[in-house]
């Protein structure tokens, strides 16, 4: 190991100790923890509001010591916070907290995800009707699907800036689709059947397989309407046509 690597390794270790050996090193240690805390606070504003600034700071600093940042791009830091909170002994009385964190990370990822070209209706019109079942619809890159036993969407909505924190529902489960609406990522609660349909599309299923059509006309109509809505909302952004027969 080079002398440089040794010096840097020692320095790095000292930054994540409980307290630095001297006052000047302590400035660096505080700065680093503040930066990592701020990155988490930016990604998890609802969690921070739910637990309060002091509790959040302590949890964030413990997380930052336990789970290293792995990139010079701070937007990538904090994906493991939900798992950390699930095991955090001091959050045991808040059983929904980890799922709220999971929902916020989905929003965070969605916010920075790739764009997609506009849906190609002309190409869809060229697929013969008898082969519609073989189409594989693609979700927009910003779409994330989250499910929870807790009313996480209601909790998320109640803790936006203009709300007082009182959720409109106090029981789950919640099935959520997260995507960007006019720039900002946010979750919407949807029916379980639609959520499972989208999940199968996300896994690459054909329309026929994703529908698991029970065969009755009502289900077919429901899916046709849902499909149109998802395309209009930008949740479905493209498709792969069946291979030419």
């Amino acid at each position: 190991m080079s002398a440089l690597a040794r010096i840097q390794g020692d320095f790095m270790r000292s930054l994540f100790e409980e307290r630095a050996a001297d006052a000047r090193l302590e400035i660096y240690r505080r700065n680093v923890l503040a930066t990592l805390h701020d990155a988490l606070a930016a990604a998890y504003p609802v969690v921070q509001r739910l637990v309060g600034a002091g509790f959040f700071r302590e949890a964030a600093e413990r997380f930052a010591r336990a789970v290293p940042s792995r990139s010079g791009d701070l937007h990538l830091f904090g994906g493991g916070f939900a798992a950390f909170l699930a095991d955090y002994p001091h959050a045991r009385s808040l059983p929904w907290l980890a799922d709220v964190a999971r929902l916020e990370w989905a929003c965070h990822e969605s916010h920075y995800a790739a764009d997609a070209a506009a849906f190609d209706f002309a190409a869809l019109a060229r697929v013969p009707a008898e082969r519609h079942g073989e189409i594989r619809f693609a979700l927009h890159p910003s779409v994330r699907l989250v499910r929870s036993d807790h009313p996480v969407v209601a909790i998320w909505e109640a803790n936006q800036a203009d709300r007082d924190g009182t959720p409109e529902r106090d029981a789950g489960p919640d099935y959520a689709v997260v995507h960007r609406e006019s720039g900002a990522a946010r979750p919407r609660r949807i029916e379980r059947g639609e959520w499972e349909f989208l999940e199968r599309l996300a896994a690459g299923a054909t329309l026929a397989a994703a529908s698991e059509a029970p065969g009755d006309e009502e289900a077919a109509r429901f899916l046709a309407a849902a499909l149109a809505r998802y395309v209009a909302a930008g949740i479905i952004s493209g498709f792969a046509a069946p291979d030419a027969a």
Binding site: S2, A3, L4, A5, I7, Q8, G9, F11, M12, L15, D22, A23, R24, L25, I27, Y28, N31, V32, T35, L36, A39, P68, S69, R70, S71, G72, D73, L74, H75, F77, H111, Y112, A113, A114, D115, P141, S142, R180, G183, A184
Partner: protein, 278 residues
Amino acid sequence: MPRAAPVGIGLRAPHYAAILERRPALAFLEVHSENFFCAGGEALEWLGRFAEAYPLSFHGVGLSLGSADPLDEVHLAKLAALAARFEPRFVSEHLSWSSIGGRHANDLLPLPFTEEALDHVVARIEAVQERLARPILVENVSSYLELPQSTIPEWEFVAEVARRSGCALLLDVNNIYVNATNHGFDARRYLDAIDPDWVGEVHLAGFERAGDCLVDTHGARVAAEVWSLFEVAVERFGERPTLIEWDTGIPPLEVLLEEAARARAILSASARAEAEVS
């Protein structure tokens, strides 16, 4: 009408809308490159609008130039793609390190000023310049402690990095003042060690005091002592693109524009004085 001196400001999200609406006369806008490493979304849409209105400068904070770890190729690829897409006037990074053993502190940590570190960081700068197919600017950082292993004065280390790698220097006058105070050296001696031909850009920002130490928070107006040192720097280096940086506790845009006007006035006064002499 004399040409306006080349002064820009750091572009931060709270000012996006105001800048596009008011279009203040600024020579360039500087962003943190990593804030636009995302694959898509509104950040890149904003950047596209600014690229049409102003020359851009991409200022990196996360490449960890001085680290003994291998260069992060994923990070470099994102930077290269961003630079290819938006064609910024400048691409810069810091003369520091922020990661080792794969762990990132996401902070600008001090290098030991040794021959080994010098060789290493020069090779790294060359590799980055080759990868980006363009020269980069490298910025001197503020520091709160001196590593006991250092054998070279900071100003000689910085000068040598520029001389050997062919990179331009982004000279942060506030950081020189902060370090001169924290480590007890003469800031003018630092400026004297820098060849004017190497200086491609100048940064100005505010510090805060923590006990006996000045901390480079980018959260205050430029201090009077730093304006004085800037005047000395301008006298020595001539007119260089100059940036007002503000990253924490971001004030109204007006405050940044006032600071920019002050920098512009100092640059213009120096240019006038020079014109009278010649």
